[in-house]
C-alpha cells in the first residue's frame, strides 16, 4: 500500500503526510521491521505452547469415545 511514485514526487512533503493519514485505517501503523519482529515473537511464543505435551485426560476423552463406538458396533 505504498504511495504511487509519481504522486509522491509531485506532492512532496505534504503529500506524504496526507498519504500517511489516508492509509491509517487499513495499514498497521508499525514500521515493517517492527511488525516482522513482533510476528516472530508471537509465533515463537505460540510454538512453545504448541510443543507442550497434550495432557493424558484429553487423549482419554477421545479414546473413550472410540471405545463406545466400537462397543456399539459390536452389538
Amino acid at each position: 500500500m505504498t504511495m504511487p511514485k509519481v504522486a509522491q514526487k509531485k506532492l512532496g512533503g505534504i503529500g506524504e503526510l496526507h498519504a500517511a493519514r489516508s492509509k491509517l485505517p487499513h495499514q498497521p501503523a508499525l514500521p515493517p521491521d517492527v511488525a516482522d519482529s513482533l510476528g516472530e515473537r508471537l509465533r515463537a511464543f505460540y510454538a512453545l505452547l504448541m510443543n507442550d505435551p497434550v495432557p493424558d485426560p484429553f487423549i482419554r476423552i477421545l479414546e473413550a469415545m472410540d471405545g463406545t463406538r466400537r462397543a456399539n458396533n459390536g452389538r
Binding site: L17, R21, A29, L38, L42, L48, N73
Partner: protein, 183 residues
Amino acid sequence: MAVDLCVRQAMLVAIPHLRAFAISLSGNITYADDLVQGALLRGLENLDKFQPGTSMQAWLFTILRNQFYTDMRRRRREVEDADGAMAERLAVMPEQGARLDFSDMLAALAQLSVEQREALVLVAAEGVSYEEAAQICGTNLGTIKSRINRARTRLAELLDLVPDEDIGPDRLVRATLLMHASM
C-alpha cells in the same frame, strides 16, 4: 465407522492448537485445560451439528471461545497468573532467554482487550485467515482487521519494540492536523 475415526483424528490434531489458544486467551494453564476439555466434550455431544467438510479445528475454537466469554460474563473472570510464574508450569521448561520472552509476551497479551487478544492470537500466532478469525469471533472482516492492527500497535509498545526516535504515523497525523489548524 470411518467417519468417527476421521472425527477423532481431527479432534486429536486440534488439541495442541486449542490449548495454545486457550492459554494465550486466559493466561492460566489450569483454566485453559478446563476450557479445552469442555470444548472437546461439547464437541462430541454436538457432533450432529458439525458440518462435514468444514474445519473441525475452527469449530472447536468457536466452542472454546464462546465458553470463555460465557465464563467471563458469569464470573467476571480476569486474566490471572500472567506474571511469569506460568512458564514454569509448562511440562517442557524453555531455556532462560526463551522463558523471559515467553513471560513478557504473556504479560503483554494480558494487557490487551480480550477482543484484540483473540483476534491477534488467531491470525498472527495460530495462522488462521482473517475470514476464519471473523467467523470464530462472531464478527466481520473489517472489525477483525482493525482489532488486529490496534493489537499489534499496542503490543509493540508494551514489548518496547518501537524505537523512540521513530516518527510514526500518529505523530505525522498530529503534525498534519497542526499544519491545517495554523493555515
